[in-house]
């Protein structure tokens, strides 16, 4: 048949596109930019891609197609776009239920959304029985039914294919990973869910979310202080500990795995989602955390020049890691950039769509490592400023993570008026609270710009029980200076000025509401016009969730991680001057506004 050119009109979008005869309608729709749900990867077994044919031929549907359409309650003028081969002009209407769903990515900041297109999918099917006349192996029948001759079949799933678990009707649901591998074959009961686990494996805090992989919605969350903290407060201490002997590495690894298992247990109990319904996990951690989590030696990261063993890894088996999820579940690690800029940053960059568009931007993570990524058009460079964990409340006498009871917003009204997370009685102060307090204290002359506490008490009283000491202030000064000098030197290295930045994204797991003006007043963030700075919250966790619900995002993350180059500010002769100048609590760059 000669290929002829024909027209496809797409409603309700009102788009007309050219196509060739013999092309599959689904491909044409995707090419036209329609976010069509191709859940089963065009195998014709999920029914998700159904469309209505308003004008054009309606060939007789095969049995499977007919029953899929019927199951969705769709009339005789509907067909599956992935099976519809074009032979003449058509007018086609897409259905709301056939489009990929969008889900919000960040919890705070930019209103970004992503299409739900997870790596794990559940397909319902009625397994064919090998016939007496053409005895084909059940596994091959399944492969044929799923149109996946290369489908990887693990033993655990194979044994179910032969066994009695599926029942006489042989109605089954196949859980498939990345369209490549069968994770499980389960008796088909309606309403079976698939869940995933998104993890921000921070040096200080571990935060996890249980995510419904069909909708991208969060079923539950949990967070806690990293259980490895008892072996060292920061990454390098953990590396040192692991370096001492192989047993220590195992201890660190076990602590992390155990903690995640506990968190999953808690979330599972609260939400009623059993562990074995969790088929996929994404972990976003810094490079050292990722190595330790996998039990990979970190010796090469202990001393300069600090080499990592891996950056991007193919998905791992959860059982191998020790995570108690579905026995065949997979774990994907957000790709690391360099030894001190890890997958948590990659995840944050992807979640905040940092790489998009032309222009110049800065991504600042106000965590222990204080990573900074600079975008200059299509070029990316990064560095870590080693701010220390002050903003996560560590090293501060009354500091704490942004957990319930943490003072996270502070206003001045004849004294500090503190608001706490969940409005519980104040337990301590978290990062965003510290920033508000310092800005307020400087503005009211309780604290000098040099960081000296004014007055005889030598303390900044917050409540009758809580106060900041002079030493606390000194530690915060060092952290602020590390970030600020890092930003300044990074810009100088690339001959840019703060004014050249189109936008600045600030990430951090230290509270839900950063007061940008206060952060600018103490010199933590540059003094740029309002709106240039956007606080994106725990972007690492949001990124882990994105990588969980969107397979294409993983490819984006991998490409980006490989593209970001690293600069070391360590050898710059102007580091010390810049650092020391940055110790002042005042806005920068100077002479502006």
């Amino acid at each position: 048949m000669a290929e002829t050119s024909l027209t496809v009109e797409i409603l309700p979008d009102g788009i007309k596109v050219r196509a060739k005869s013999g092309e599959v309608l689904a491909d044409v729709l995707v090419r036209a930019g329609i976010p069509l749900s191709l859940y089963c990867h065009q195998r014709g077994v999920c029914g998700k891609c159904a469309v209505r044919i308003l004008g054009g031929p309606l060939p007789f549907p095969a049995a499977v197609e007919a029953s899929l359409l019927e199951a969705r309650g769709l009339g005789p003028d509907h067909r599956l776009a992935c099976l519809y081969v074009l032979c003449s002009d058509v007018i086609v209407e897409t259905l709301p239920g056939s489009r990929l769903e969008k889900v919000a990515v960040l919890d705070t900041g930019l209103p970004l959304a992503a299409y739900v297109d997870p790596a794990v999918k559940r397909l319902s099917l009625v397994l064919e029985k090998p016939s007496l006349f053409a005895p084909t192996a059940a596994a091959d029948l399944l492969r044929a039914q799923l149109k996946s001759p290369g489908l990887i079949l693990p033993l655990a799933a194979l044994s179910k294919l032969g066994g009695s678990t599926l029942g006489p009707a042989r109605a089954a649901s196949a859980v498939i990973y990345d369209d490549l591998e069968l994770l499980d074959l389960e008796p088909d009961e309606a309403g079976r869910d698939i869940f995933g686990l998104a993890v921000d494996l921070g040096t200080t805090t571990v935060a996890a979310e249980l995510v419904d992989l069909r909708t991208g919605k969060i079923a539950d969350r949990a967070s806690a202080v990293n259980a490895q903290t008892s072996y060292g407060a920061d990454v390098v201490s953990r590396i040192t500990f692991a370096f001492e002997n192989p047993d220590n590495l195992r201890r660190l690894r076990t602590a992390a795995v155990q903690q995640l298992n506990d968190m999953v247990g808690t979330m599972s109990r609260r939400s009623g989602v059993p562990r074995h319904r969790i088929y996929d996990a994404v972990v976003a951690g810094n490079t050292a955390m990722n190595h330790i989590f996998c039990g990979v030696a970190v010796d090469s990261m202990a001393l300069a020049p600090f080499h990592a063993v891996f950056s991007t890894l193919p998905p791992l088996a959860a059982s191998e890691i020790g995570l108690a999820l579905h026995p065949q579940a997979r774990v994907y690690l957000a790709p690391n950039i360099k030894s001190f800029v890890g997958g948590d940053i990659t995840a944050g960059l992807v979640a905040s769509d940092f790489a998009a568009g032309p222009g110049t931007g800065l991504f600042i993570d106000l965590g222990t490592n204080g990573e900074i990524v600079l975008k200059k058009g299509g070029e990316f460079v990064t560095t870590s400023t080693a701010a220390g964990p002050a903003f996560e409340g560590m090293n501060i006498s009354c500091g704490m993570l942004a957990l319930p009871g943490a003072i996270h917003q502070v206003e001045w009204d004849n004294g500090f008026k503190c608001r706490t997370v969940d409005d519980l009685p104040p337990q301590g102060v978290c990062g965003t609270g510290l920033i508000d307090i310092l800005a307020g204290a400087v503005a009211r002359g309780l604290l000098g710009r040099d960081g000296r506490i004014i007055g005889p008490e030598k303390r900044l009283r917050l409540t009758d029980r809580l106060a900041l000491t002079q030493q606390d202030i000194r530690d915060i000064q060092l952290a602020v200076a590390a970030v600020r000098s890092g930003v300044q030197l990074m810009l100088r290295e690339f001959r840019l000025k703060v004014e050249d930045l189109d936008r600045i994204l600030v990430a951090g797991a230290f509270g839900s509401s950063l007061d940008v003006a206060n952060a600018q007043a103490i010199g933590l963030l540059p003094d740029v016009p309002a709106g240039t700075i956007v606080f994106v919250g725990n972007a690492s966790l949001s990124g882990a969730r994105l990588l969980l619900v969107s397979r294409p995002a993983r490819a984006v993350a991998e490409t980006l991680a490989a593209k970001v180059s690293h600069v070391s500010l360590a050898t710059r002769p102007d580091f010390q001057d810049e650092f020391v100048q940055s110790l002042e609590f005042d806005s920068y760059p100077k002479g502006q506004r």
């Binding site: 370096f243 001393l303 300069a304 506490i453 580091f575 010390q576 020391v580 110790l583 002042e584």
Partner: protein
């Protein structure tokens, strides 16, 4: 202006970190034929000691300490050669070698310790950062220094402080040098564990410790 008033001004210049004033007062003292040893002991030293006290009280922080140490340096740059020439007194104090150990590039703390040691009258050779352990021995040997100061800011590179002491023992040089260790992860306990001669928490304490080790305190 009485002598005491001038000494007070000298001390104040150091406390204020006023480099110009510190230098001008030193030049004036030289011109007026003052007893320069007394100028150092009663004019400038009390200044830097006050700075140390302010630091310990939490009043002063890095910027103040740095500018005061700089002011002290500029005064001593005027006074030292004069002292040598005029009174034949070699004020060249005890010689010290300092550096940040192998694998580590943090130098802000080390620089501060070096400045304060200088301000405190030591003759300091600063080897910079990422210094191979052998280099410390070579430099101490070349300068005839008896005190070696090792800075480390990472828990990983801190182990090089231990290795250095082992190296000295291996070479049979342990008795020849005193070793002072410091840097954020180091502690008194650590210093004892690795058999160092001293530890100091900060630059002010470092001067005291160095003086004690050099038998000056």
């Amino acid at each position: 202006m009485t002598k005491n008033e001038i000494y007070t001004k000298m001390s104040e210049a150091i406390v204020a970190g006023d480099r110009q004033a510190a230098r001008a007062l030193a030049e004036e003292a030289v011109r007026s034929g003052f007893d320069l040893l007394e100028v150092v002991e009663q004019g400038y030293m009390p200044g830097i000691q006050r700075v140390g006290a302010l630091w310990e009280e939490g009043e002063y922080f890095l910027p103040e300490l740095i500018t005061s140490a700089e002011a002290m340096k500029s005064a001593m740059a005027v006074l030292n050669p004069e002292l040598n020439r005029r009174e034949g007194v070699n004020r060249a104090g005890a010689r010290v070698i300092i550096g940040t150990v192998e694998g580590d590039i943090h130098d802000i703390g080390k620089n501060l310790v070096a400045s304060m040691l200088q301000a405190g009258g030591f003759e300091v050779t600063d080897l910079g950062v990422d210094v191979k352990l052998e280099r410390f021995i070579e430099a101490a040997d070349a300068a005839g220094a008896g005190l070696i100061c090792l800075s480390a800011l990472l828990t990983t590179t801190m182990t090089n402080q231990r290795r250095f002491l082992e190296l000295l023992k291996e070479r049979g040089l342990r008795g020849k040098y005193k070793v002072l260790v410091g840097g954020a992860p180091a502690s008194r306990k650590w210093a004892e564990e690795i058999g160092a001669d001293g530890f100091a928490e900060n630059a002010v304490a470092a001067v005291k410790a160095a003086k004690a080790l050099a038998g000056l305190a």
